[in-house]
């Protein structure tokens, strides 16, 4: 399975990427929503996108809206991974088309639980470290 990790902080991209690689994912990274759209437009067929909310150039919510407006990306599962934890924000993201919501700071178990709910967890996960 392929994942796209979208976060303006390289540290967080690495952390999420490490977890996903440990779960058997192939991972590509983007520093904001526009970079992520460019990667998708180049033909990267991701199964999952982990999307931060607050990013320069194009934020996570705008990315979610842009993806949901493109029929070719309807199979892409979108999971917000963000510090924005108010109920109103979660409702806004889900209404825009995000499938799941993971609040930072999170654990690898929390990430795996969310992927299991989404049906995107390989059968035998192994965590790095």
């Amino acid at each position: 399975m392929k994942a796209l990790v979208i976060d303006d902080a390289r540290a967080m991209r690495k952390i999420i990427g490490r977890l996903l690689v440990g779960l058997g994912y192939e991972v590509r990274e983007a520093g904001n929503g526009q970079e992520a759209l460019d990667i998708l437009n180049d033909g990267y067929s991701a199964d999952l996108a982990c999307v931060d909310w607050n990013m320069p150039e194009m934020d996570g919510l705008s990315f979610v809206v842009a993806v949901r407006n493109e029929p070719q990306w309807q199979d892409l599962t979108l999971m917000m991974v963000t510090t924005e934890s108010e109920t109103s924000q979660i409702v806004k993201a889900l209404a825009a088309g995000a499938h799941e919501y993971l609040i930072k700071p999170f654990t690898s178990d929390a990430m795996a639980d969310k992927l299991q709910i989404l049906g995107l967890l390989p059968e035998q996960p192994t965590y790095p470290g």
């Binding site: 902080a9 390289r10 607050n54 320069p56 510090t83 930072k104």
Partner: protein, 163 residues
């Protein structure tokens, strides 16, 4: 607009609690180690490191203000080593790690505030003898003795609604 000592302490405790949460969740998961609890002390005249990384994030909405996280080079390096999984992180890596730290601390603290609030993107800078870091004069400052080194957490925060 309303701000008082108790409210200021309440704000900074929200942010230091968020910092503790990072040591209880994210970092143990990345390293496989258990981290001791942070020890938090309010200070009037913080002993600022001579050189290191400073990150700040602004909160706007029903509350407005800023949150600062300041770490000396060694502490920033410790965070960066874990978060970037690099034995020898670069200065940019250290800034990036402390920037994400203030993002998580600011975001978590904001979530515990009443009303509608937003956080801006973190801003980071390195500092040293020639460009020392200066906090706002009315900032509340707390020193956090963490397992990865000394961190200074500071806030200037006001409740616009006066509630």
């Amino acid at each position: 607009m309303k701000t008082n000592t108790n409210q200021a302490e309440e704000f900074v405790m929200l942010f230091t609690e968020a910092l503790r949460n990072i040591f209880n969740t994210l970092l143990p998961d990345l390293t496989g180690d258990e981290f001791m609890m942070c020890h938090v002390t309010k200070v009037t005249q913080p002993s600022m490191p001579e050189a290191g990384c400073c990150a700040t994030v602004d909160v706007t909405g029903d509350h407005y203000g800023s949150v600062f996280v300041i770490a000396d080079e060694a502490t920033a390096n410790n965070f960066s080593r874990i978060m970037h999984e690099e034995d020898n992180p670069s200065h940019e890596d250290r800034l990036d790690a402390i920037g994400e730290l203030v993002n998580i601390v600011g975001g978590s603290g904001k979530a515990l505030m009443e009303g509608e609030n937003r956080i801006d993107l973190p801003v980071t800078l390195g500092f040293g003898a020639e460009n020392p870091v200066m906090l706002p004069s009315k900032a509340d400052v707390w020193q956090v003795v963490s397992p990865l080194g000394l961190i200074v957490v500071s806030t200037v925060m006001h409740n616009v609604t006066g509630e």
